[in-house]
Point group: C2
Chain length 191, copies 2
Amino acid sequence: MKRLEECIVKYGKALNKDVLKVDAFLNHQIDPDLMMELGKDFVEHFKDTPITKVVTIETSGIAPSVMLGYLLHVPVVFMKKSKSKIVDDNVYTANIHSFTKGIDYEITCSKDYLAKDDQVLFIDDFMANGEACIGGIKIIEQSGASVAGIGIVIEKAFQPGRKKVEALGYPVYSQARIASLDKDMITFVEE
Amino acid sequence: MKRLEECIVKYGKALNKDVLKVDAFLNHQIDPDLMMELGKDFVEHFKDTPITKVVTIETSGIAPSVMLGYLLHVPVVFMKKSKSKIVDDNVYTANIHSFTKGIDYEITCSKDYLAKDDQVLFIDDFMANGEACIGGIKIIEQSGASVAGIGIVIEKAFQPGRKKVEALGYPVYSQARIASLDKDMITFVEE
């Protein structure tokens, strides 16, 4: 998506070959007009897919998801992150390893907000190793709901996330696909 | 705000005389149409106030703030929560005590996203004892920016938050003001 790529080039900071900071418009400061554009782009891409719910993981997936949910007029659910094991019969849980932070954490979702007949569009701000996305899929599968699609704002295409998620049978749509990162140069996958 | 009060009555759960759960439409599952209505209501209330930035605290303040920022076409910044002391010269920090959870935590905001000439509308999902709001104000004041207004989605008006914040010289606008909570009965302040 052209406008997103322009924002990444203009405001993104490649800290090294692996880490891209987009605190200026997505992860700390949010550009709400851009969020609406991201929402519209997801709507366009998934226009032939029936969707009853948009699901994301806190925190940075919420802004684009809320715009998408608004455009589709469906509820948005954000899964919650916890550093400690949750003991609660009424939640689904999945364990996630963060390669970036070198820690494990749990994500949880109340059983009240995912139902068997839900067609879920799963949205996340980043895809790198695919761990968060696979955790999200596990929770959706636990609930009996269907994963109707997976939408990612920024994919680090040089990391194995897409391959691992597609191996589970779920195609991934990313709005920006980064081929490589360098302090002076961010390049995108040519489509 | 009538539609919000209706949602609170219909989907909110008063766990006891102090705790109201609104996981069905704000704190876990989000109703994006309602979020847009909340955004419009804030725009209407603050229509005579110049605003350059909407600032909130993660996580549940983000959805209404993004709608508000979209309607005003200004950036949204969410302050981050951390359980440990942050040592970073480039962030503003404030300590917050959570009476609900019985813990202290820090909120932080990068110095990159608050500037002296910013007119900040501070938004939060809940106001109870006012601790989070006062922490947010402290950070905005540290940056030299002005607090142009304070907008709260749900105020527990039987707790002292408003009084404490108004004592600092900042008027508070709340979209729903709860007078009392009981398992079978949620009552609102009559305006």
